[in-house]
């Protein structure tokens, strides 16, 4: 009885907090008039979606280094649909999400069979090969990429010509993804994923089909990355293979690790925002950036393995228990 009361109080607090954050995000463009700042927010939000896809696979016990591949597939799919077939953004976005999902199903049905190291390595190779394919094959625009991707058509009175409109669009997509992911995590599927991550053999004894549920996580997460890619293509109005290669997949993981691995939605959110804004404010020389990222990563792994949220939570519970034990002594 008492416990449920506490839970209700906590979830009420949580609701209030979430509502405040949401209101701040919705009102943000009114306060921020600087177009570049809005651009950074848009990029951070794309990063959050990508980080959440990494976390979803992590929640099912899979470690991917290929989130960038599906981001690229979504972007290329959407670009080709709109430049070659003349589809509008509003048709290309769901279609390219679907296409990414189908590709993920085809690739995943082979590679999810070997979870563990083989999966991690193949996902990395897949990301590499997707970029190579985009660069080598003329149909995909070659290394020069494709320019002149259409902006989204006006939606009623809303014209997609300013950064503010794109900000609201990506905010909507981000919240949609977060809601769907949250619903999945709190449902039976999410609990099964957690069981698989905790101990695959134990989950199997409970009658869980490991392969099917891992594949489900892979397809859902990859589709979300594809959706982010579609938005990216129409926001930048051009795509090049380099935008999806290089360190991208590594940065995506870094978001999740930095924010807190066990926080599947808030972790990537905090990580992506920090990794987008901190380098901007420090104004580091561009060539020092990878070194600082590397040192940052090592420091987190060596000293704060729970990430920011995990460390805060541990600090918080430690404080609480120390207060309790103090009372007992009295």
């Amino acid at each position: 009885m008492g416990k449920s009361l506490i839970n209700r109080k906590m979830s009420k607090n949580r609701l209030i907090f979430g509502g405040m954050v949401l209101a701040a995000l919705v009102l943000l463009p009114l306060a921020v008039k600087n177009a570049y700042m809005l651009h950074l927010f848009i990029m951070a939000f794309i990063g959050i979606v990508l980080g959440m896809t990494f976390s979803m696979l992590f929640s099912a016990g899979l470690i991917t280094l290929g989130a960038g591949a599906f981001y690229a597939i979504g972007a290329y799919g959407s670009t080709l649909l709109s430049t070659r077939l003349g589809l509008s953004f509003w048709a290309a976005l769901p279609l390219s999400t679907l296409i990414t999902g189908i590709v993920a199903l085809a690739i995943g049905s082979i590679i999810v069979r070997h979870p563990g190291m083989a999966f991690t390595i193949i996902s990395l190779l897949f990301a590499h090969v997707v970029i190579q394919a985009a660069g080598q094959i003329e149909f995909f625009g070659g290394w020069g990429g494709i320019i002149g991707v259409e902006r989204p058509d006006p939606l009623g009175p809303i014209q997609f010509t300013t950064k503010t409109s794109f900000y609201y669009l990506i905010l909507f997509l981000l919240l949609l993804t977060a809601l769907v992911f949250h619903a999945l995590y709190t449902s039976r599927i999410g609990r099964i994923w957690r069981a698989i991550k905790l101990s695959p053999p134990l989950a199997e004894t409970l009658g869980i089909n490991l392969y099917r549920y891992r594949l489900l996580a892979f397809v859902i997460a990859s589709s979300a990355a594809g959706m982010a890619g579609s938005f990216y293509a129409h926001y930048f109005q051009m795509i090049t293979p380099e935008a999806f290669g290089g360190w991208l997949s590594i940065y995506i993981q870094l978001y999740a690790v930095l924010g807190g691995l066990e926080f599947y939605i808030l972790g990537p959110a905090i990580g992506a925002v920090i990794m987008t804004f901190v380098p901007e404010y420090l104004r580091i020389a561009k060539e020092m950036e990878p070194i600082i990222t590397g040192v940052f990563l090592l420091v987190i792994i060596l000293f704060f393995s729970g990430g920011i949220l995990g460390t805060l939570q541990r600090f918080w519970t430690a404080k609480k228990t120390s207060v309790l034990s103090g009372k007992e002594q009295l």
Partner: protein, 297 residues
Amino acid sequence: MTTALFIQLVVNGLVKGSTFILIVLGLDIILRGTKILNFAHGQFYMLGAYTLFMFCRLWHVNFLLSLVLSGLALVLVGALSYLSVFGVVQRRFTATTPFTYRLLMSAMASVGLMLILQQGTLIAFGTAERGMPSIFPQIITFGDVRLSLEKILIILFSMFICFGLYLLMYKTKLGLAMRTVSFDPEIASLQGINSFWIFMICFALGSALAGVAGGVIAPVFAVTPTMGTHIIFTAFLVLLVGGIGSYKGAILGGVLVGLALSFGFHFLGGISELFVFVFVIIILIFKPGGILGEVLD
């Protein structure tokens, strides 16, 4: 296709293959011994090439001696990075730590190391390609087949290293200890083996192999800061083809991928990498653990 061209392509494939074999054996020893997926391995390879370049070109040391020295330098780099990073991460693991978490933490640590080494080299040496004169510029001619002595020596050298590794792994007490630790560190501890030191030795040995591979290849190709990033993808491909955790598989995979890339580049150009990837995926459908490996979780 003439016979001469065919032999030339085979030799080129074997030269590529023998560097892959050295790199992948190092990767495999680290993976099997310490369970670390080492993304910084390509950077160790690059560092090997740069140390050889420094010894040989800047300080005019004899080539073979500088090869040994660059191997030793990489032993030091490997041991230090194990002591300062991976050892610390692994000491935190307990018996109940999930496998996913272990894999992610050590892999991410190696990614951090990779970023630092990569960009550090770039800043220290610049983006310019460093060339080295060929050490053995002689050309051997059989009829109309012309082969450079250097390439043949590289193939022989990597066979020599493979044989040495075989002796180390299967004929010495250290090799027995390494194999025991890779089987189960706790059982190894019960036999009085200090797992931590063996982990460190595995890591240092693996790094040294990558360094030697870089050193061997330095006189043939240009030394660039990005050479490590390029090779690591192919190295992982070789690892998958042969099978993770199989030394024979690493050798077979190295030869197969080396030949496939050599013939592919000649007949298809840059797109051959895609075909090799598709080929690997097809192999994995039928042989989930690679050609000679077992499925590892």
